[in-house]
Symmetry: C2
Subunit: 430 residues, 2 copies
Amino acid sequence: MKRTLAAEVPGRTGDRVLLKGWVHAIRPLGGIGFLVVRDRSGQAQVVLEGQDEFLRALPEASAVVVRGVAAAEPRAPGGAEIRQAEVEVVAKAVPELPFEVNHPGLAAGLDTQLDHRVLSLRHPRQAAVFRVQAELVRGFREALRSRGFLEVHTPKLVATGTEGGAELFAVDYFGRRAYLAQSPQFYKQMLVGAGLERVFEVGPVYRAEDHDTSRHLNEYVSLDLEVGFLDGLADLMDLEEAVLEDMFAAVTSSAGDALRLWGAATPRVRGIPRIRLDEAAAILDRRHGHQIPEGNLDPEGERLLAAEMERDHGCELVFVTHYPASKRPVYAMPDPADPALTLSFDLLFRGLEVTTGGQRIHDGETLRRRLDGRGLDPEAFAPYLEAFQYGMPPHGGLAIGLERLTMKLLGLGNVREASLFPRDRGRLAP
Amino acid sequence: MKRTLAAEVPGRTGDRVLLKGWVHAIRPLGGIGFLVVRDRSGQAQVVLEGQDEFLRALPEASAVVVRGVAAAEPRAPGGAEIRQAEVEVVAKAVPELPFEVNHPGLAAGLDTQLDHRVLSLRHPRQAAVFRVQAELVRGFREALRSRGFLEVHTPKLVATGTEGGAELFAVDYFGRRAYLAQSPQFYKQMLVGAGLERVFEVGPVYRAEDHDTSRHLNEYVSLDLEVGFLDGLADLMDLEEAVLEDMFAAVTSSAGDALRLWGAATPRVRGIPRIRLDEAAAILDRRHGHQIPEGNLDPEGERLLAAEMERDHGCELVFVTHYPASKRPVYAMPDPADPALTLSFDLLFRGLEVTTGGQRIHDGETLRRRLDGRGLDPEAFAPYLEAFQYGMPPHGGLAIGLERLTMKLLGLGNVREASLFPRDRGRLAP
């Protein structure tokens, strides 16, 4: 018999059905009992008569196969249930679970949830995080593909860092020293110059940062894009608005129920306010007496600025632009009006940086001088610099942190909740 | 003025257009000259009058912006050209290129091409490889999403290997030893058991193999899937046929021109012959006197078997099934009819293994005993084994090597040609 998914049961009333899933809840009520079975589509109620003993002995979370007849029942979730049921236990769970996963909330701290991720994901709200995340990624890809971007895969094992500093994980590569890529930055620029012109990549990036905060992961998924023949910084921010709009639309249309489980709503993304860092600093100083560190927003500054922008513009996002060259990577394009600044931006979403982007230097000689000026040996960057010898057009790009975006969209308290198996200083398993 | 892509020029005849791209070819013909400009969409011919000096001084490969009028011209590629043109050089290339990229073939050896990937990708055939590859990946994702699979992202920094052996790259993780994941195998099984039920992942995997062959990469892209409540090995092979059919359809519909540049055709994927390894061995022995190594096909055996299957069944693909347990990973499900064999398969495409798959052991105790039997400490695998405590249904999955599939589809001679920036024992850059 063909399998029926839980969500399909209401459409099959009167039919014999075969359901496969996991025991979500058991209610032996004396004579008549109920079994709630969960599969990838949702839940279905199964009625069992005279099987209280079986129900009492059945551990929650076990995998079962149910054969029965679908019947309309207004009091059942979805308006239908399965009657005349036979239940086959295909894999019995242990009698005691570390925590319950069939209550509205999860009565386990974050570390416990993450230690037992295979169990906590059984909770519908936890699984919903990753259904939302998958739709964000799909929306990102489709938004870019429809705009002429090519998806690429670049190596994560690299010979040099891209952000020119420490914070690199070292790998023993056949006796040589390699590193885990901090970003696909150099490769995506090289591919623009190689004539692919518009590229994007979804892949892991690595930061050996010693931070232990609710906003940092040592391995995360970066949604990267780079675009050639760029007309300027405003174009790039326009592009991000359009891409985010498509991403949020993908979530709304295909994971709307997952959003609702978190009481979350997607933000308005057209007409995001754009404010220079120096203007932002002035506002924070004037209105809050808050001084930001030299050339960068601190977490408190990010939160305060977000609140101001929400009040002034009714927008939960804000582009902060024109960061000082001293605080940006070597490849950041200087602002022609003030070369101490760069044509760069961060995008804050509900008070957290979720994107970094900007225009890049496309003149190889300038880039070489700047590497040299930072004490970096241009020869170590020869494969990157070669791309600038064959006609590198004006270009720019950005990178969205997938877990951070998911976190802020759903209102999660910690970025680790938006990673299936997060990696931090202390966590290398599961 | 809004930019016009090269491929759009024939539809804009009579209009002023703005073209952006790279110099593909220059033909100063004395008085009237031609410039062929390439962008991400294709090529357009530009006519320049009385500018022979400019054309002679312009290095091929430079990035240019062209303003002119689109005009019908039956002799031009695409039936149109750009006249009354003004050309602005936005980034001049070096006067001498390491090799030409505007001839039908690429007169450079593979190593030279890969050393100068940013230039060799300018060749339309080289770029075409990655347009085909992107469509294969898109087809994979859409095939699975439409069948209820969720896309996931699992960490590549792990505490233990999955294939239980050497061939792991070691990483210094804050003073501890971590490894680069050989596959997302454990995680995808854990996520099936965690109730996500059907998952897939597209991501890098790492093999510290010392091989230096035309078929091996040390970092490659794996297209992984895992499916819960599996009905048996045949179901999994049926699924792969359906997925491959969708993948090849995506290529044909969206990158048909790229296929044609390689003279390539997609294979028939429905009704792929399925042959047990012992039967395959018998055929090779009987018909060719070829002895395969114990429990595995050697490259010559793969090629001979492919030729036999093509002759017998007219099919360029073949599933080889029932590999011995001793040659498969610890999690491979034993064949109930002969526990020395496993419910596993490899898929050969034009004589090369492009997929490994199979049903997995879903009983935790069995798995624990098998780990122990291989001299592996079950405690080291505790986070994986935990998933088997909460009702792990029968399940199985497979992994497709993206670069190998691309290679065989296009008839490339070396898997490195199907990787933008391949990693092998000697190659860590670009």
